[in-house]
Symmetry: D2
Amino acid sequence: MPNRIKKVAVLTSGGDAPGMNAAVRSVVRTCAYHGVECVGVYRGYQGMIEGDFKPMNARSVRGIINKGGTILKSARSKEFRTKEGREKAYQNIIKEGIEGIVVIGGDGSFTGALVFNQEYGFPVMGIPGTIDNDIFGTTHTLGFDTALNTVVDAIDKIRDTASSHNRLFFIEVMGRDVGHIALNTGIAGGAEEILIPEEDLGLERLKESLNKSRTSGKSSSIVVVAEGDKIGKNIFELKDYVDENLDGYDVRVSVLGHMQRGGSPSCFDRVLASRMGVKAVESMLNGESNYMVGLLNNKMELTPLEQAIKGKTKINLELLRVSDIMST
Amino acid sequence: MPNRIKKVAVLTSGGDAPGMNAAVRSVVRTCAYHGVECVGVYRGYQGMIEGDFKPMNARSVRGIINKGGTILKSARSKEFRTKEGREKAYQNIIKEGIEGIVVIGGDGSFTGALVFNQEYGFPVMGIPGTIDNDIFGTTHTLGFDTALNTVVDAIDKIRDTASSHNRLFFIEVMGRDVGHIALNTGIAGGAEEILIPEEDLGLERLKESLNKSRTSGKSSSIVVVAEGDKIGKNIFELKDYVDENLDGYDVRVSVLGHMQRGGSPSCFDRVLASRMGVKAVESMLNGESNYMVGLLNNKMELTPLEQAIKGKTKINLELLRVSDIMST
Amino acid sequence: MPNRIKKVAVLTSGGDAPGMNAAVRSVVRTCAYHGVECVGVYRGYQGMIEGDFKPMNARSVRGIINKGGTILKSARSKEFRTKEGREKAYQNIIKEGIEGIVVIGGDGSFTGALVFNQEYGFPVMGIPGTIDNDIFGTTHTLGFDTALNTVVDAIDKIRDTASSHNRLFFIEVMGRDVGHIALNTGIAGGAEEILIPEEDLGLERLKESLNKSRTSGKSSSIVVVAEGDKIGKNIFELKDYVDENLDGYDVRVSVLGHMQRGGSPSCFDRVLASRMGVKAVESMLNGESNYMVGLLNNKMELTPLEQAIKGKTKINLELLRVSDIMST
Amino acid sequence: MPNRIKKVAVLTSGGDAPGMNAAVRSVVRTCAYHGVECVGVYRGYQGMIEGDFKPMNARSVRGIINKGGTILKSARSKEFRTKEGREKAYQNIIKEGIEGIVVIGGDGSFTGALVFNQEYGFPVMGIPGTIDNDIFGTTHTLGFDTALNTVVDAIDKIRDTASSHNRLFFIEVMGRDVGHIALNTGIAGGAEEILIPEEDLGLERLKESLNKSRTSGKSSSIVVVAEGDKIGKNIFELKDYVDENLDGYDVRVSVLGHMQRGGSPSCFDRVLASRMGVKAVESMLNGESNYMVGLLNNKMELTPLEQAIKGKTKINLELLRVSDIMST
């Protein structure tokens, strides 16, 4: 391998997710293990444009595996969408002697990496970091498992008060385009109904479902709603609809919001991040480029970035059915 | 003691709070310890009106000390505010042989107890259960400590994402009339500013404070806002104000909502609930009535219900000062 | 389907695991969904022998999805290992009209089910419930994911104090025959070394590894040790070895113990349990018997009980390598 | 105030406790607020002897309020117990221009501070940081509340498995000389019996108590044992005693160990730490010395170090009684 890469950069980009720090740590330590230099880029692509680099070694990433957020910070960079911005970035990394980049982020971040690669032929590898689990080529994105536990913990708390007061709660969880978080946490939280973008249940069926639940003797109910659900304009309008169309419900709304993005990563996410970092760096050292690492059948696999961006992980229809049966 | 009470009822009323189940358990077991019968009343005063009673013994309350919510359920009863409603309730408890009632709830619930006592001379004792800590005669209400930990846990998570993205977060916590939750969690969560109903900081000072924090090099900020804060009409308007009047902030809002009421009670709340239940029952057996039990100087003390309702636990000014110094 | 099963029993057996209640709930509700009667058997096979049955419907399992332990209780039954015991059990279930049994437990429990099936031709289905993840035919057993998070949470706490005092901690985790818990939590907890039954590292290499970690500037260290590790006779002897053979270490031991078996199940375990219950009941209604349901490639699959018992899920060698690289 | 102190040092000493970082942060920020320089001393008194100092400002302590352990590290220093050691320490702090020291630790640490003050007339202030709550002059030491929640969480998990298997668990918690942790967590964890150093229950009464609990129909039991309990030589011998003297018990032992010292501090501990830091620094700036700050009647108060060391916070007898009643 005559032209093996001697210096790797790592950055986090897009919305942050638990496990990003564990992935940064893994990239840095895998570099150290192979005697390759490693540089952290701050604030994603914007930091590349501004030359915001910091050399990192095994000790730089000590004590971060259990921290939420990202020590490298993240930002969305408008400038990187311009040819001028990318040119600046390229000049900076060449000057720094960087020969490959590992990008931890979602599909927007991967698109940036791909364009950069197409323009400059620069080696890039992607690690899927987003709580939404909406990236093709991996059954789990970094942060998804942690976010599920955070949401379920909140639903458990809300159920305490819902059942003490015989209330109906609409709980909004993240997921603008995909219902993975809603579907899993709805099942785990014992929700009576789950509303996701992939399926327009219709207000009539929601009404029926709630009526059925009520007549079956349930005195409190939880409906988990994905942010991007298409059924109504928003969760507060759902409440209004039920207030007007169903008798005897004391309806409340809870929007879980940004706390879903934070928190110490779960064991699953820490192990996944560690595996992904190793795979990303070693693949790059083996001459690969333009791939995303992912978990498929419990193994680390590579998927071309182009596919990862275009594809979407579809909702598991089995889970929809399980949800229906569980709310019997 | 010739006329010692032989049968005690216990109910939970008003908004539920972590620790209510631990208090119910304590009331029931203290009755059992003293050979007194105990009856649980479901859904607060409404259950008294409807005769929704259930005999309880030491085993009925097994396994509930760590459960959020209230197994007796809670409800607000309009009917109990009428003379007719209270008459029905009285007839039911007389028929049941109940000779005293322990009411676990907030000041609204205590007002009901007091009126009932005034009308029928019926022995009542109050246990302060509400997360708001707004009741006079106790340094801590049941559920307050647990709610504080729930909120701080959420702030920690939000800070992860705030600092990854250099954002300003307004976080709304419970407290319509009092700022106890906001003040304590603001200090514990490392908030740059805390907005409480007791103090109208003014938008100008908020602006100054945020500017100061920014110029001191802080790239992310948390502002904790009590529900009932008077500074603006609501938290979303605060965001609009900052968007319009301060440059360079990426502002987000998070309303923590009902999950603050749920969750397994903290050690503090479980011990407090156990102590309060013992004190309430034993005081009643000793012939006391119309008192609320409370924690004062780490001891169980009695405060006349009338005082407990009228008074308010004031904000600790020392904490305001500590908050100022910490956000240096 | 002329002979479709009309009454199903469910029991939990062997060591309890988080998610068992969620699986019981799923079995019961899937039966209800299909109009099949369901009976809970208390204390595993012993309850079959003693006829300790209770009819269950959708409402019987309300509010248990988030509870650790098992509401059906578990026990090891010596009597069921005798022909007489099994005959008694058979007579009881026939009398009760039960036509199929779902067994939630580990390989010992499955062996019992298999023998019972061989003797009486009675339909049995297995759901793998054990924190050890040592059952062939599923990538995850029920409770494994929750136990991992419990252990990692404890390691995080111990690391706080380890690094404050520059100490070396040996932390013992469950896993008599397999190192799955140790390997995953060791990586996630940032352990310097992981000792598992599958690999005899040898005391010399442990010494070297600790020396290397020390010379690389680490002032505190965590070694995660599986219960069944072969390196030394036990974890306290490991401490003695280091005390005698390595200078400058302040060594401490922590045995995490039974708390690893408890706690509210993670989202992953709740969803897995829900899926497994549906699959087990529906397979049985479709005439299948003698299978264990499992998660393979993110799908529910059936594995013959015989294979599930004989096989062992092997340690993922990739994880061993990741662990080595991470402790660089 | 002509001779106001211009430079303050802060150190953590003895066993670490959650909230120590929050206290360090508070000391540093209060100094900054008053325009006083602040220096962190690493590894307690040993760092004073070795001159291991680091200037600290408001930014040095960013992001540590929620971290367990102590960023300043802690150590026990034999050298500081010698006159020569203390002389070296004195020379170092004089050279550094330090004019007062805030010591965060337990009574051993305070003794060191007192001797140092007596020998050199050097201003010292103490902040009680230890999970044991065994220091006179404060109702709560830093870390006590967090440790209680950690222990109760573990007991809850163990109870899940205890009640699934009808087992008796002996759970050992910290507390060599005092039973505060055992008493509070025993009540909160619903323990059937609590063994503390302050009270020798006697094996006979333990036996009776367990028998009573069994005959009352309880199938599982928890006994919380303080480390320093006098009843038997150790917790494993207690198990042996029950195995030999009581029928029908499946007994297990769990020693919670060092994880009790770690973890993110509770809201209570963070607020307490913030208040104590302010009080300690401001008292010192006001010319006070040789005091410990403490929480008495919900106010910050000063207690002479000498008293704090000699006195012990006694077990609250009311709690012992509550525990008895609860295990009815």
